[in-house]
């Protein structure tokens, strides 16, 4: 049954930390529809039961569900926000100057119309299929987020004895979690020569629990008929290619994979929004608006953040700007030494007192420095003891800019250390 199209001033897709923070920040004068495919708002935070969230935003150490609950309470109090759960977006299309969003839910198919769309649909985990592991395909090969869902939401133990591939934060956190629940976590294997996760997680998740971390080693084969029976580990060279003759067999009943996160941008791609191949999310200005007028991208759909506190911050920036858009004049930000930099564009017509940039260095840097230059003149500089690609940095720059100005963000270091001894 086709129903009448319902109009909203703003539609937000995804009620995880990004969507919630964006919804919370939208001016009360505008009607907001917040669409969530799951039964509950909160996104991935629901299963991130460990603590450490909220140090920046609330000056408290909270667990993921507690952090989410704060935002859910704030959003539920807002009379202009309508939250629709168990609602899945099946189509987004542009018709004249409006976006039509078609959803499916228990109530059937419904189309909403809006002029402003905030994409807050998060990211996905890379799977074992995406990292070239040979061998059998038995049960017991899962992503770290999948294992986390089993343990923390379903209350099920997916392994008794496992190997973890990849040293991303979720992998490290799951190593500790599975160990706490009584599993034997044999080791974390990382193909790179440096860990991908935060140093504090190496300390509190691995060292604290005597879980070994093996660098420059990877899983090359999975064995098992119906269930994982073991894996083959190989050392890798600098190009991360397995070295023949280094293979060892490890008996286990599961392989937990934590090999990176990829922003989810199927909707953005279908709308032909330009995507930055470095962040794998849309190009945005400082208000998180994409290069397509009226469409914003926030949270991990924009780029994968280390901290939920920053996800909230950028989403609030987008939420606040919604409904107050002006005609944009964009200046591209040139960068050097960055793995990526967000925002990639600055709208000179909506500059505030300070402009925030997030960046990751493209390599390990010691005694590093970030410089912001306008027309070749330094307007901001900050020094760092060290910069590492896994750690996202944030700077707030008092930026003044005109339409034809040249803006650069440059990273440099006294020592560029490709393989630090850790």
């Amino acid at each position: 049954m086709l129903k009448k199209v319902i109009n909203y001033d703003v539609v937000i897709i995804g009620a995880g930390p990004a969507g919630l923070a964006a919804a919370e920040a939208v001016d009360e004068a505008f009607s907001v529809l917040l669409i969530e495919r799951e039964a509950r708002a909160g996104g991935i935070l629901k299963q991130c039961i460990h603590d450490g969230f909220g140090l920046v935003r609330f000056k408290e150490k909270l667990s993921g569900p507690e952090y989410a609950e704060r935002y859910i309470q704030m959003v539920l109090k807002k009379s202009n926000v309508k939250l629709e759960t168990l609602t899945f977006v099946i189509k987004v299309e542009k018709v004249k100057d409006e976006y039509l969003i078609t959803t499916t839910s228990k109530q059937g198919i419904q189309t909403y119309a809006t002029k402003r769309l905030i994409l807050a649909n998060g990211c996905r985990e890379r799977t074992a299929r995406q990292v070239n592991i040979h061998g059998d395909r038995p049960a017991g090969v899962m992503t770290a987020g999948n294992a986390q869902n089993f343990v923390n939401l379903m209350g099920l133990m997916p392994t008794k004895k496992c190997v973890i591939l990849g040293s991303g934060d979720i992998g490290l956190i799951m190593a500790r979690r599975l160990k706490l629940e009584g599993a034997d976590v044999l080791g974390v294997y990382e193909a790179k020569s440096t860990p991908s996760g935060l140093s504090r997680n190496i300390q509190q998740c691995l060292i604290d629990f005597d879980i070994p971390l093996h660098l420059s080693k990877t899983v090359t084969r999975v064995f098992g008929n119906r269930r994982v029976e073991g894996v083959e580990i190989s050392s890798v060279d600098e190009k991360m290619n397995p070295i023949k003759g280094t293979e060892e067999y490890i008996e286990c009943d599961a392989l937990v994979v934590s090999v990176g996160l990829i922003p989810e941008n199927e909707i953005a791609e279908n709308l032909n929004i330009s995507i930055d191949r470095r962040t794998r999310g849309p190009f945005v200005d400082q208000n998180m608006m994409t290069l397509t007028d009226g469409i914003y991208s926030v949270g991990n759909a924009l780029h994968v953040h280390d901290l939920v506190d920053y996800v909230s911050e950028v989403s609030e920036t987008a939420g606040k700007n919604v409904g107050h858009e002006r005609k944009r004049e964009l200046v591209e930000v040139a960068s050097k030494g960055c793995m990526y930099l967000v925002p990639q564009y600055i709208d000179v017509n909506s500059l505030k007192e300070k402009t925030t940039f997030f960046f990751r260095s493209n390599t390990d840097m010691l005694k590093a420095k970030v410089i912001v230059m306008v027309n070749g003149e330094e307007i901001y500089a900050k020094k760092y003891v060290a910069l590492r690609p896994p750690e996202m940095e944030k700077i707030s720059v008092p930026l003044k800019l005109e339409k034809d100005d040249k803006l650069e963000v440059l990273l440099s270091a006294e020592t560029i250390d490709a393989c630090p001894a850790e």
């Binding site: 667990s63 569900p65 507690e66 609950e69 923390n152 939401l153 379903m154 935060l198 140093s199």
Partner: protein, 120 residues
């Protein structure tokens, strides 16, 4: 001794030396790091987060954590106590399930809301 401060995501690398029973911490960026280093030598503590089983099929487990830090050596003892609990009532977030768990002085509190999920 070298260790990474776990107080915040910055993860400062601390160097800790003991000279004449005095603990000297270096490498911290803020006072929390200095305190962490000192405590780590004398009495290391941690927060633990886990889940507790319920009788409700729509919400088989509820997330919990220690409301304050517990001695690191008590982690598995505290886990054992937490695993004895089965929730059979609908609690709001922040409910104390066990007070002063294993005499550590820390309470075990729920960290997710049950009331919006179970409508009874």
């Amino acid at each position: 001794m070298n260790l990474t401060c776990i107080e915040c995501p910055k993860g400062c690398l601390l160097t800790i030396e003991i000279q004449d029973s005095e603990v000297i911490v270096e490498g911290y960026d803020c006072l929390r790091g200095k305190r962490f280093g000192e405590k780590e030598v004398k009495n290391p503590t941690r927060t633990i987060a886990t889940t507790v089983k319920t009788i409700y099929p729509e919400l088989p487990v509820v997330s919990v954590r220690t409301a304050s830090e517990i001695p690191k050596e008590d982690i598995f003892k505290v886990m054992e106590e937490i695993n004895k609990v089965i929730i059979d009532k609908v609690y709001p977030i922040g409910t104390v399930l066990i007070s002063n768990v294993c005499r550590t002085g820390a309470d075990i509190i729920t960290t997710s809301d049950m009331t919006r999920i179970i409508n009874k």
